[in-house]
Subunit: 157 residues, 2 copies
């Protein structure tokens, strides 16, 4: 009855991947993406599976294959991506029990749940305000601020 939850960075990772894909013309292989994120290709495929199933990206096998964007970046928000990952738990703290047999605990649960829910709602709302296009534009802005030419970006890391 103990719910575990590791600090989940899948959303962060997926966004990183999507933005890298947005900077490339052709398909990008899991291997290349894995190197960019300093991780394993299988991890990339695993985490991208949900996005593929929901049509945000497309994958192709064989020579010249890899991952390509299959959506309008200006119409997809971080909240959409979060949902595509299966809407994992947002909060790291929670109630001891969902079905308290004790009035005291029921009272505690009610008070905490109220706060928890409002925080979750706010977070989801904020994620819903940010489009992938906005993020992509931000990357270019940061590049310019670094004194580089916006195109032909070096995309290590």
């Amino acid at each position: 009855m103990v719910s575990y939850v590791r600090r989940d960075s899948r959303l962060s990772g997926v966004l990183h991947v999507l933005l890298h894909m947005a900077q490339k013309d052709g398909p990008v292989t899991s291997d290349v993406l894995a190197k960019a994120l300093d991780t394993n290709p299988v991890v990339i495929r695993r985490v991208m599976a949900g996005l593929r199933d929901q049509g945000y990206v497309h994958s192709e096998k064989g020579h010249g294959g890899g991952w390509t964007l299959a959506c309008d970046l200006s119409k997809v928000t971080l909240r959409d991506i979060y949902a595509a990952l299966g809407s994992p738990s947002l909060l790291a703290i929670g109630n001891r029990t969902d079905t308290p047999g004790c009035l005291v605990e029921a009272s505690v649960n009610a008070a905490l749940d109220k706060s928890f829910r409002s925080a979750e709602e706010l977070l989801l709302a904020r994620l819903g305000e940010v489009t992938l296009a906005a993020l992509h534009a931000d990357v270019h802005t940061r590049h310019a601020a670094r004194g580089h030419s916006p195109r032909k970006a070096k995309t290590n890391g």
Copy 2:
């Protein structure tokens, strides 16, 4: 470099304990509290250590010993208790890396952090609005709604 975090229910547990103590006149032993929370006395002592160090509760050894409240319930909020527990992580999702060597990741981090921070701030603010006294009153309200006499409460669970 992977930050782990189990669904933390210490706040929930501590609040449960404090409210039970508020309903008793004398000291309450870790053993009694442990039975109420269906856990181990050592766990109670461990989680209460922070509260004791910060003066919210008092502990006494020997015969007739146990835990007693040492604060004004109307002046202590859930946020105070949360802080006394060491301000554990609130969010279950986070960035892959805190120090990105990649502009793309920096951009992702910035966007997510903004949302994360606002959610955390809201949650803390909400917790800061609820006093232990309010929770205690809520327990009595729930008791009355159950058709019991407010005093002499049965405090199982």
